[in-house]
Amino acid sequence: MDFISNLLRKKSTYIFLACLIFVVILPLHSSGYVLRVMITMASGIIAAMCLNVVLGYMGYPSLCQNVFYGVGAYTMALATVKLGFSPWTALLLSPIVTFIIGYLAAIPFLKLRSMFFAIATLAFTGVVAAVLINLPNLTGSNAGLRGIPRLVKSDITFFYLEIALMLIVLILTVLMSRSFWGKILIAIREDEDLAPHLGINVTKYKRLTFAVTSAATGVAGAIFFSYQTFISSNYFTIGSSFTALAVAVVGGGGTALGPIFGGLVVVGAPEVFRGMSETLSLWRPAFVGVVLVAVILLSPGGVVGIFQSVVGYFKKRGAR
């Protein structure tokens, strides 16, 4: 009860509830197209949230996030289309398969640091992309697989499903960041050579973190491609992980809410432009690129970082 009354006292709780209500009502008044954008954005945000744990909290710049999105998605697709499972069974399978692959990938890759890790994960993405294209009997290659059954019937329900997943991931991230796990990840990020001397089993936590976030990403992928009912290898090219990276970085690495803002900027803003002018929409990737470069060079804390500086500035003025 104490916890709840504390919560009711904080302003941020009400803001959060307002956003929640807004998010719930919005799809009911949105056109099919807007809904599709929102579903895509929500899914991207979830993937970015998972990447954020690995990149922002743990300090490992993974460029292969989309691989796990794809593993989850293809598990959903193959389990339903080729093996006849129900989509909910496939949804249960997705995180399990993705966890295993994520853990296996973690073993070699997490031995590397910083840019070597980044490049190795990039190469990993290339290998997986090649696997997806070159096994048409298994994966349908570019032509893809059709007829993935939907988990739920309507688009709106899919959106709610994704919001639910996003909330779960958000809550888990916040809980993690405030717990011993979060401290361990930050220790790894700040000085990985020091951590073991403090008794921390760095290897175990790195691998688990990587595998668990991969599994969550896999679930997001499974849900999205069930919504889309169609999957092809075109979605998993070598550079496809960059979007998740952009969302995570732009929003602000190492903060739980960062990816949400990142998603709004990276996916949402260009769509707003599209509304204003068709030609502007041609420059969507350039917009993302510009924002990404601007953020990383000028304000590495991302949107959340800017927000914090602004709040800090006003607090200082108020204190005078």
């Binding site: 070699p108 590397l112 990993f124 290339g126 070159n134 990737p285 690129g289 990404l292 990383i296 060079l297």
Partner: protein, 286 residues
């Protein structure tokens, strides 16, 4: 048949050598991986194409002009975006990714996403053994060798080359003895970018130019220089030979499409066993 495969492998290696030399040079001096390399590879092809189609410049002079333009472009990129010198490589990686987004988008909007065919004036076919090689490919090989020789000459015999080597060995020491580290970085980055675009210019008539043609090439480039040792020119050449041959042989004898993947797996294995590559820090650095 095998002669043909070998010939193809040599050509592919030649293009990769040009690309990898630029990439390893940039890393050696600035200690950052350049993730705009692939985009500039493609940009080189498109600028070259434009010079030919829009301005009527003949193929060969257009090569030189495009090279100069991309040299300038690289200089601008370094000055504006990468002048952190000693900054975290992760920042450089992310900035490079952002810039690639922009550049690829520009190329897509200006030149279109469809593959552009570029005609090369070198169209003779030469028969060697059981295979054939076009004069264009022979030019590529010659250019690749020439660039390698020029680069070695630059580094060994010119004052600026000395400066480059000094900065790549120890940036602080170099600046203490009076080397203008910023200028060295700028010019090196420009040279590297120019080399990437030269690679693209020569590759385009073979594979057709698309805005995303640099993607796999860039990752291959990294595979090569990591294999050979980042910062080592000799390593870049050997890495290019190794992976170029692996790529072409796998593509020809196993199945198309797996060449790149095998090369990547190879690189991942090497990076795990010996992160400094075959000729990395432990070996000689030019």
């Amino acid at each position: 048949m095998i002669t043909q495969v070998i010939l193809n492998a040599v050509v592919e290696t030649a293009i990769y050598v040009i690309m990898a030399l630029g990439l390893t040079l940039i890393f050696g001096v600035m200690k950052i991986p350049n993730l705009t390399h692939g985009a500039m590879y493609a940009m080189g092809a498109f600028i070259h194409y434009s010079l030919i189609e829009w301005f009527g410049v003949p193929f060969v002079p257009a090569l030189f002009i495009a090279a100069l333009l991309t040299f300038g472009g690289g200089a601008i990129l370094e000055r504006v975006f990468f002048r952190k010198g000693g900054g975290s490589p992760v920042i450089a990686i992310i900035a490079g990714i952002g810039l690639t987004y922009v550049l690829v988008n520009v190329m897509t909007n200006v030149w279109g996403a469809w593959p552009l065919r570029i005609q090369t004036p070198f169209r003779h076919m030469l028969r060697i053994g059981g295979g054939a090689i076009s004069s264009h490919n022979i030019v590529i090989i010659i250019v690749s060798i020439a660039i390698t020789v020029l680069l070695y000459a630059l580094l060994k015999w010119t004052k600026f080359g000395c400066a480059i080597r000094a900065v790549s060995q120890d940036r602080e020491e170099a600046s203490l003895i009076g080397v203008n580290v910023n200028t060295v970085g700028l010019v090196t980055f420009a040279i590297g970018t120019m080399l990437a675009s030269i690679g693209g210019m020569f590759a385009a008539p073979i594979t057709a130019a698309t805005p995303t043609m640099g993607g796999t090439a860039e990752t291959m480039g990294f595979a090569i220089i990591i294999l050979g040792g980042m910062g080592s020119l000799g390593g870049a050449i050997i890495g290019a030979c190794l992976l170029g041959f692996v790529d072409v042989f796998v593509t020809s004898y196993v199945s198309g499409g797996w060449g790149g993947a095998v090369a990547f797996v190879f690189m991942i294995v090497v990076i795990l066993i010996r992160p400094s590559g075959l000729f990395g820090k432990k070996g000689r650095q030019i």
